[in-house]
């Protein structure tokens, strides 16, 4: 086993363990401390919470804010918006719950020091679109991280690899294990409640860019699907894992388009400067019926129109930036939109001599991503709010998964799309308060992880280092060896499988039952090879476990995609063998549950309840 088997074990006991220090985790930290003054609360993060999670870079807008104090919007309107964007399939109770609380979150952010832009005449927040407000958000994450650090004990640079369950009650979470990315120690977190606030997934599907540019994905490269990889292996029920998202963004730099189209009112056109989306309206109605009559047009359908245009040879698609930059103020808004959150887009313009005042800029659809907080809602099935969730959406504490004591927020929780930063923080708050209640009401008996399980996991966690130490001796030098692959080589295999068989860019997002079955076959072989990953150091060990989480997530994506026999979200992906949207059979959630003891998946349907007309 080499030197790694003797790694010191560090035990950390807490009442509440928060995994992941992004917006969901910081919200959970703040709120759990507010309600649980005497509780021991620990947050663990694989990076440094000062700059971690999807908002590490910064943001240029808050995309979920009602403005209820000014009578701007009501939570039920937000539910209607998210529902139509997701082609009818969302957890309305969860979205309503976030919408009714999100304003208090945003007001707190402003009090803490986040600069929110104001309308010069009304003094209200400057709206980008109906639900979005513009911010000077370069330091959005450091500000929110300060609040979290003042609330709980933070462990930075510890990568959580597995959740722990109780030694006798298998469906009761007992904590988590992982390793120190800097100190190499084995960390055992024992907790009465666990809130998973880890990230969704980039790099499950092959990105458009190659080589260095693979780093410039839309979602952060460190969003490694741990949200799903952790909870599904613990047996939590998952929903809508087929609901991957594809984004239309500025080509290669992935700069955001919202401020350009909503605030600055720049047009999106084909190469001949035509408004192709309007021209294809009737075609969209013929494809999906009433869903194409929603305003705004659902995100997937806008993608579909763009894809049809590209296939017809009418591209490149352009954002007509030059039409709208008539003042220095607007020019600053346009540039800050990138510099606050996607500096790479500014670098792209500088390198390609693109001045947005002088010429249009290319857009394209991205590779698919798996996440639960944007215009998509993959994630764990969660118990809803006590006062408004239907009976079959409620079996315990708000935001608790089907595993007792295991809560989630942000990308982790399925069915509640359009959370974005403020909604993820708000969902963290909801889960944080709920977990406090669970701990205080569940009695004194703390769950006890199984000692044998801990020993097995310790050996397993360091196995990629141990394997490399031995197998590396077979070769002279280089990266090619007969008995191991590097984490990056494994990742590239995963991305190729998902891209070619599960509806990635190389097939224009098209897949089918035989394609998915072949993909699953190859993925099964990759899962076997995960036992032969070789990691040279602790950095590669982190990559190895990120790969594990991504592969498990990919398997769930394929299984759910196979199960849903329709094309629900044209523009996100297409089932060529079931090209229509079929409401009578498929106006439901797909759900899955993995049974670790039997190594078996159970797949089925859950009803979609409409609580708002």
């Amino acid at each position: 086993m080499g030197p790694w088997s003797s790694k010191q074990t560090r035990y950390i006991d807490s009442d509440i363990l928060i995994i992941g220090g992004g917006f969901g985790g910081c919200g959970a930290a703040y709120e759990s401390r507010y309600w649980g003054r005497d509780l021991n609360i620990v947050l663990v993060e694989k990076a440094n919470i000062e700059r971690s999670g999807a908002v590490a870079h910064g943001l240029s807008a808050i995309n979920c804010y009602m403005g209820m104090r000014w009578g701007e919007n009501r939570p039920d309107d937000f539910v209607r918006y998210a529902r139509s964007d997701l082609m009818g399939l969302v957890r309305e109770d969860l979205i309503f719950d976030i919408a009714r609380h999100v304003d208090s979150t945003v007001h707190k952010f402003e009090e803490w020091g986040l600069p929110i832009m104001k309308h010069p005449e009304t003094g209200r927040y400057l709206r980008e679109g109906r639900w979005q407000v513009m911010i000077h958000g370069e330091s959005y994450k450091p500000i929110i991280a300060e609040a979290a650090r003042k609330s709980v004990t933070v462990f930075n640079r510890v990568m959580v690899t597995h959740l722990l369950t109780d030694g006798t009650r298998r469906n009761r979470v007992a904590g988590a294990v992982g390793f120190g990315v800097r100190d190499g120690r084995f960390y055992v977190f024992r907790a009465k409640a666990v809130i998973v606030c880890a990230g969704g997934a980039s790099h499950v599907f092959r990105p458009r860019s190659i080589g260095e540019g693979a780093g410039r994905t839309w979602y952060a490269p460190w969003s490694s699907a741990s949200a799903y990889g952790l909870v599904l292996q613990a047996g939590a029920k998952m929903i809508q894992m087929e609901n991957r998202i594809v984004l239309a963004r500025f080509k290669d730099g992935y700069g955001p388009v919202g401020a350009w189209s909503l605030l600055l009112k720049a047009r999106t056109t084909n190469a001949a400067q035509g408004d192709y989306e309007a021209a294809r309206r009737e075609e969209l109605k013929a494809l999906v019926g009433r869903y194409a009559e929603s305003s705004p047009l659902p995100t997937c359908l806008r993608n579909h129109a763009m894809l049809q245009e590209l296939k017809a040879g009418a591209g490149p698609i352009y954002m007509q930036t030059k039409d709208v930059l008539d003042t220095r103020h607007k020019e600053e808004i346009g540039w800050e939109d990138f510099l606050d959150m996607t500096v790479g887009q500014a670098v792209l313009w500088a390198s390609q001599n693109i001045d947005p005042k002088e010429r249009a800029s290319e857009l394209i659809t991205s590779e698919p991503y798996v996440m639960g907080s944007h215009a998509t809602c993959s994630g764990a099935w969660a118990s809803g709010p006590e006062d408004c969730a239907p009976a079959d959406y409620q079996w315990g504490y708000n935001r608790m998964t089907t595993v007792e004591g295991l809560f989630g927020a942000g990308d982790t929780i399925g069915g509640s799309a359009h959370k974005f930063s403020s909604g993820s923080f708000t969902e963290g708050r909801i889960a944080g308060k709920s977990a406090v209640r669970f701990v205080l009401e569940s009695g004194a008996q703390a769950p006890r992880p199984d000692e044998a399980q801990l020993r097995t996991l310790k050996a397993l966690v360091y196995q990629p280092l141990a394997h490399f130490a031995v197998a590396r001796n077979a070769i002279v030098a280089g990266t090619v060896a007969p008995d191991y692959i590097s984490p990056l080589q494994g990742l590239q295999r995963l991305e190729k499988i998902m891209d070619e068989y599960a509806g990635g860019i190389s097939t224009f997002y098209v897949t089918s039952e035989p394609m998915l079955n072949r993909g699953l076959e190859l993925l099964t072989l990759l899962k076997e090879d995960l036992g032969r990953i070789g990691a040279e150091d602790l950095h590669q060990l982190q990559r190895a476990w990120e790969l594990h989480h991504r592969v498990w997530t990919a398997e769930a994506v394929i299984r759910h995609t196979l199960y849903r026999q329709e094309t629900r979200w044209p523009g996100y992906y297409y089932r060529a063998d079931y090209p229509r949207l079929v409401d009578p059979d498929w106006h439901v959630f797909t759900c899955s549950q993995y049974d670790a003891r039997a190594d078996a998946w159970e797949i089925g349907k859950m009803p979609v309840h409409h609580l708002i007309d």
Binding site: R33, E138, I143, K150, W349, P385, I430, Q542
Partner: protein, 151 residues
């Protein structure tokens, strides 16, 4: 645009190693200065560039789509609460911008334990911390009693 470190400016302090969200800024053992070990996992988030006290870290656009000859430099001044950018095009044109980053002093956030302890029965309510005051509404919106139906 992956990051790189200028040999003459880096003093090996490790601030970039400490902040990088992707764990790709490492110290090169021979020169004892930082470098990017995995450019294909660099999101060009600029966290390390902003954190470097020596301004030793810069970026060069991704080789697979960014032609050479550009630069995007940044100075983040926490105490002043501003960030300044200087963008130099490949063809030599320059753009400069300054934006605010925070309206309050760093470290000034009041922790949740600094507020009055909530009443025990409030734990079972739907209210979150600081509500309803922080919401700016009188009550918490409720779902209208539409009968649950499924399609």
């Amino acid at each position: 645009m992956p990051t790189f470190t200028y040999m003459a400016r880096c003093d090996g302090c490790g601030e970039c190693v400490d902040i990088c969200p992707s764990d790709i800024m490492h110290i090169e053992p021979r020169y004892r200065r930082s470098y990017n070990v995995e450019p294909n996992f660099c999101w060009e988030c600029y966290s390390c560039v902003k954190a470097c006290p020596q301004h030793a870290i810069d970026v060069r656009g991704y080789a697979d789509f960014a032609p050479l000859g550009h630069s995007v430099r940044v100075r983040r001044e926490e105490r002043k609460g501003v960030i300044s950018w200087k963008i130099r095009y490949r063809d030599g044109r320059v753009q400069q911008f300054t934006f605010p980053i925070r309206t309050t002093p760093w470290g000034s956030i009041k922790p949740p334990s600094g507020y009055e302890t909530p009443r025990p029965d409030a734990l079972r309510s739907q209210w979150l911390a600081h509500e309803p005051e922080a919401l700016g509404t009188e009550g918490l919106p409720q779902l209208s009693p539409l009968a649950t139906r499924s399609e």
